[in-house]
């Protein structure tokens, strides 16, 4: 909400500087998001009345304007403006003066005649164009008849002010008006002076007596749902004269940061901004039987709202109806059929108190956001404003000469619903706050806010003012104590809690461990957004991803079913900026659709592209490869003691023949391989990309319990062999044969070499194994190891081929 300092000063006397006000309001929970000071930048601008206009003798575009400056005499200026007529009240800057945009004004010759000054538009005056009507922004500014001719412009228009942008939390509906802010300023004053809140300090007119109310045939109000509408007052105004608001009214709107529209709209806007009370104007003659009925909508009822949209009403929506149909959605928006038009001569103003939830529900259901609904949702004052605003409105009607006659006020409902007192135990409060306040302290603090209280023993009975709809339960009163004492005045204390270690879930612990292992290997962790584009997921050949009903952009309309998209994005970003490699992982949730529901799973994605390590003078550059990726996975699984095996994978996003599914003894853990080239291209990756994705949930289930195993403390003996076999044999098959035949002393087998081509026969390949033998209880002899190796060689020879080479180490 935007409001100017002058409007606040008009509502209450205070001598805080704007900066102090911002701090002090912030201390009680009303945040001023920004302040904007405007200075008077012009000089010698006066209010003038146009006495005569005449064309310039030679310049047909110019007019000679004779001006009356009241006590300052008369003058004449030439102007090219076309919106100046006899009798207009307009601002003029005289020779020696200066405009807000910095132009110094002197007597100037137009042909053969002199011009003594310049007429001003809003630009020369430095006015806030957001707060002017479209008419006010065209050509020379017109002041209303209320402006005093000859007076300095700064006396006729509220220039030189500070605008505040007030940000109000949803519970602070009571601060959404000038009256509301004035009440909080009164609270600040009361607290500073250690005196009770005094509503009498508020200078806004707040008549408490309703004008004479009569419910008769001319205008009858009925409330059918008292629980949703506690009171409804209708003010009938006859002989309505249309047109713009008076000068005084417009300057008031300027201070309230309300743009003028028309007399009727301006009046409703003033009530809203000044008092926080929404009002609505109906055309009396378009209300069937001149009746107003507050009721809930019936099945099948519709309304065309002021914005011209036909809306079907959910049965049970709170509406204002005439004798036949709904004419407004209560507190949200009026209907077009009953709205005020140029032909309107009789108006009914509505001042009502609606249930916040009823208005909020209708507003959300219909998708209408209006200023009125915004206020009603946050709670309006069922007391003061509902009783005062009709009188204020009636006074405004007279002041604005809107109609000749305020004829009827019809009302229904209870004007001020009684607020019940609430009991508050002293121990209850202190036990909640960890404080040591006595009854006197609490009464004093409540007093600053106008909360009535009385003490009986150790219990306080408290009653809120009608504008504090937020005070309904005891913790809310506790909050007021904190607010008034000052949040920072309360003690700080370390809770008396039992000593014990904190715990985290095994999954969380595993995620931490995985990160630690992967970072140790040399991978960088990425964190990418969880959103992907649905069409990308489809093009990748993955099952449908969960879709957002209200995505922020089409690029982010689904939840990621894989970590690949985000990691690829991170890779592209880095590679496109000249990096030659990207090796990264991410651990996070992936999402899938399961029937009518959704699943989420914690996964680890690893993506390698380009160089794995830069060259330097000690080592050549190392490129990432499928075996670098497999090595990373093997290292991780070895660290976690998860035994694994691989079979070919049917992963949608990996190349066939270049990808495997990795499983523990019981569970599929994940896949690794070369990212399908078309998928890579789709994601913007130009080169071979190696990608692995593992389920952390599955890994967790596969981690065995570990315990100590006896190991050999004697020297081991190593033997290397190389086997020439058919190319179709896999290293894994050969290794299985070696393991099977190596006996219990065979400790480790490492593939040290694998090649084909060159000197080797076609269809053959050579695979080299390094075997390490050790005994748990003695030093082995070379001869006994050789016997074992020979046995392995013999088996390999008979089962798969001949031995190429044998090396002793």
């Amino acid at each position: 909400m935007r409001v100017k300092l002058s409007a606040l000063h008009a509502a209450i006397d205070f001598d805080y500087t704007p900066e102090e006000l911002v701090t002090k309001l912030g201390d009680v929970g009303i945040e001023i998001e920004s302040t904007e000071r405007t200075d008077v930048l012009f000089r010698d601008v006066f209010v003038a009345r146009v006495m005569r206009t005449a064309p310039h003798p030679t310049h047909h575009r110019l007019q000679l304007i004779d001006l009356d400056l009241g006590p300052r005499g008369t003058t004449s200026v030439y102007t090219a403006a076309t919106n100046v007529r006899e009798g207009d009240i307009i601002p003029v800057v005289i020779p020696g003066g200066r405009t807000a945009d910095g132009m110094d004004i002197a007597t100037r010759m137009f042909g053969t005649v002199e011009s003594f000054g310049m007429l001003c538009s809003w630009k020369e005056l430095g006015l806030d164009s957001d707060l002017l009507s479209s008419e006010e922004k065209e050509g020379i500014l017109h002041l209303g008849s209320g402006a005093i001719v000859g007076s300095p412009f700064e006396e006729a228009w509220p220039v030189g002010d500070t605008a505040f942008e007030v940000s109000v939390t949803p519970d602070r509906g009571d601060a959404l008006s000038v009256l509301g802010l004035a009440r909080w300023i009164e609270v600040l004053k009361a607290r500073d002076a250690d005196q009770p809140f005094d509503m009498g300090d508020i200078k806004l007119p707040l008549p408490s007596a309703l004008p004479h109310a009569r419910n008769d045939g001319d205008l009858a109000v009925t409330i059918n749902n008292q629980s949703l509408c506690s009171s409804y007052i209708a003010v009938l105004v006859q002989d309505v004269a249309s047109g713009p608001s008076s000068h005084a009214f417009r300057t008031q709107l300027y201070q309230l940061c309300v743009r003028p529209v028309s007399r009727i709209v301006d009046m409703t806007n003033l009530c809203l901004k000044q008092y926080g009370q929404p009002t609505h104007a109906f055309d009396y003659d378009r209300l069937q039987e001149h009746r107003i009925i507050v009721r809930t909508s019936l099945p099948g009822e519709t309304i065309v709202t002021l914005d011209g949209v036909l809306r079907s009403l959910e049965p049970g929506t709170l509406v204002i109806a005439d004798a036949a149909v709904p004419v407004a959605v209560a507190g949200v928006m009026g209907g077009l059929a009953s709205s005020v038009t140029a032909a309107t001569t009789r108006i009914v103003f509505e001042i009502a108190h609606f249930d916040p939830r009823a208005v909020a529900h209708a507003s959300r259901h219909l998708g209408i956001k209006s200023d009125a609904a915004y206020l009603y949702e946050r709670g309006t004052d069922p007391g003061l404003t509902v009783s005062a605003v009709p009188s204020v409105l009636s006074a405004l009607v007279r002041e604005q000469c809107l109609g000749s006659y305020v004829s009827r006020v019809a009302s229904a409902g209870i004007p001020v619903p009684a607020k019940l007192p609430l009991n508050l135990g002293l121990d209850q409060v202190n036990g909640y706050l960890g404080s040591n306040l006595d009854a006197t302290d609490m009464q004093r603090l409540f007093g600053y806010e106008g909360i009535a209280s009385s003490v009986t023993g150790t219990t306080l009975s408290v009653t809120p003012p009608s504008f504090r709809g937020d005070l309904t339960s005891w913790p809310e009163y506790v909050e007021e104590i904190v607010r008034m004492e000052g949040y920072d005045e309360f003690p700080s204390h370390v809770p008396n809690l039992a000593l014990r270690p904190g715990s985290e879930s095994p999954l969380k612990a595993l995620c931490k461990r995985l990160r630690q292992i992967l970072v140790g290997i040399g991978l960088v962790e990425s964190r990418t957004v969880s959103f992907v584009r649905e069409s990308t997921v489809t093009a990748m050949g993955l099952p449908p991803a969960p879709l957002l009903l209200n995505p922020l952009t089409v690029d982010w309309d689904a939840l990621r079913p894989t970590m690949a998209v985000g990691l690829a994005g991170a890779a592209v970003r880095n590679l496109s900026r000249g990096r030659e490699g990207f090796a990264s992982f991410e651990i996070g949730k992936t999402f899938s659709v399961r029937g009518q529901s959704f699943d989420e799973e914690t996964r680890l994605g690893i993506l390698l592209a380009g160089k794995w390590q830069d060259a330097n003078w000690t080592t050549p550059a190392a490129s990432t490869s499928i075996f670098v990726l497999k090595g990373i996975i093997e290292s991780v699984l070895r660290d976690l003691h998860v035994p694994c095996n691989v079979v070919s994978s049917d992963s949608a996003i990996l190349e066939t023949g270049a990808s495997v599914l990795v499983s523990s003894e019981t569970t599929a853990l994940g896949t690794l391989g070369i990212l399908r080239h078309d998928v890579g291209a789709l994601l913007g990756l130009e080169r071979d990309t190696f990608y692995a994705e593992f389920s952390v949930d599955a890994l967790l289930k596969s981690i065995p319990a570990i315990g100590f195993k006896e190991f050999s403390r004697f020297p081991s003996i190593r033997r290397d062999i190389a086997v020439l076999v058919d190319s179709s044999m896999t290293a894994g098959q050969l290794q299985a044969i070696i393991t099977e035949n190596g006996g219990p002393l065979l400790k480790t087998i490492v593939v040290f070499d694998s090649f084909q081509g060159d000197s080797l026969p076609t269809g053959k390949k050579s695979v080299g194994f390094s075997m390490e033998f050790a005994s748990p209880d003695r030093t082995l002899l070379g001869d006994e190891v050789d016997i074992l190796v020979s046995s392995v060689e013999a088996t390999l020879a008979t089962r798969v081929g001949g031995i190429l080479r044998r090396t002793r180490v």
């Binding site: 949040y487 957004v529 991170a570």
Partner: protein
């Protein structure tokens, strides 16, 4: 000045042993064997010694001179051979090792978690796709409440949404367990906010909850104080300001003394000396009632802060988008 031949010998021996380089040895050579050297001076004295002692003295001095020359040569040779063996250009870079790095948000998250683990808090988790009930209703944010406007929400289906905060984990924990509760939850949250320097639709929160028989507002302040000191350093202070969050009452915005300027005022704290970090307050009675706790026995506090915000303040990062760009030049800095 050493007076006897033995003393001179001992002194020179010490000098040579202490010599770090050839220059030190040469300096010693000049001092002992140079024109004005100690040994040279002795040689000059020979002719002046009484005849009966001259011969003996002369032999001793000459022996000293011979020994000194030899010792100096020996030391020089030792030093030069050492230098030849280890003449390394240490300006050359070492062999590169792959440099892995945890994401900065992970680092901050783990730091926050370790502070709370050390205070006996359990770390709880919950789903990112959440039921509207846990995200809103159970937290005293009924449908149609204007507080819903505070958190722009992504929906997947009617009643199913992406959690807008980690607070539903509070509800799930309280429904599962009886007090006392001492927990935090860290995790990814989602809000339908347009992307700019201070908003991303994906962000990370840390949520805390303590419920027991006599937990007070003062305890909230005490725990936040410890947390802040643990993460930002022991001189950081906490200040509470009135604010509104539907699931707490009284509700507070938590500010910390600006760790960048120490509270003196700088651009980061907009010259106020304080930086707002997140919400906190005493858990609303409606929330406790909703999970079935007896509000006449149990009470407690909760807080929720942004991990990105903590990282931004701690490291002076100005743009939240950087966390999700994963630029190696950014990630490598922390």
């Amino acid at each position: 000045m050493p007076s006897t031949i033995d003393e001179i010998r001992t002194d020179l021996e010490t000098r040579l042993t202490a010599a770090r380089n050839a220059q030190d040895v040469r300096n010693a050579q000049i001092e002992y064997l140079g024109k004005k050297g100690t040994v040279t001076a002795l040689l000059k004295q020979i002719s002046g010694v009484a005849e009966d002692q001259r011969r003996q003295f002369g032999e001793q001095v000459n022996a000293l001179k011979q020994w000194a020359a030899q010792a100096i040569e020996q030391r020089l040779s030792n030093l030069s051979s050492t230098a030849r063996r280890y003449d390394i250009d240490f300006s050359l870079p070492g062999q590169l090792m792959p440099a892995g790095k945890k994401h900065i948000l992970t680092q901050v998250e783990e730091e926050v978690e370790s502070v709370f683990l050390s205070m006996g808090f359990d770390i709880e988790e919950g789903p990112e796709i959440e039921q509207e009930y846990y995200n809103f209703e159970a937290l005293n944010i009924p449908a149609d409440h204007p507080a819903r406007d505070m958190q722009n929400t992504f929906y997947l289906a009617p009643g199913m949404l992406l959690r807008t905060h980690t607070s539903p984990i509070q509800v799930r924990t309280m429904k599962r367990e009886n007090p006392p509760i001492r927990m935090i939850a860290t995790g990814r949250c989602y809000r339908r906010d347009a992307v700019d320097a201070s908003h991303t639709p994906v962000f990370t929160q840390v949520e805390g909850l303590v419920i027991d028989k006599s937990i007070t507002f003062a305890d909230l302040k005490g725990v936040l104080q410890e947390f802040v000191r643990g993460v930002f350093g022991s001189s950081t202070n906490v200040k509470l300001l009135p604010s509104f969050f539907p699931f707490v009452e009284p509700g507070a915005e938590t500010a910390i003394s600006c760790p960048i300027c120490g509270g003196k005022g700088c651009p980061t704290c907009k010259n106020s000396g304080w930086i707002e970090m997140g919400g906190s307050g005493m858990v609303h009675q409606n929330v406790l009632r909703e999970v079935g706790y007896d509000t006449s026995i149990y009470q407690g506090f909760a807080f929720g802060w942004g991990i990105e915000r903590i990282a931004m303040i701690k490291y002076g990062i100005r743009d939240i988008r950087m966390f999700y760009d994963n630029d190696l030049d950014f990630l490598g800095q922390f």
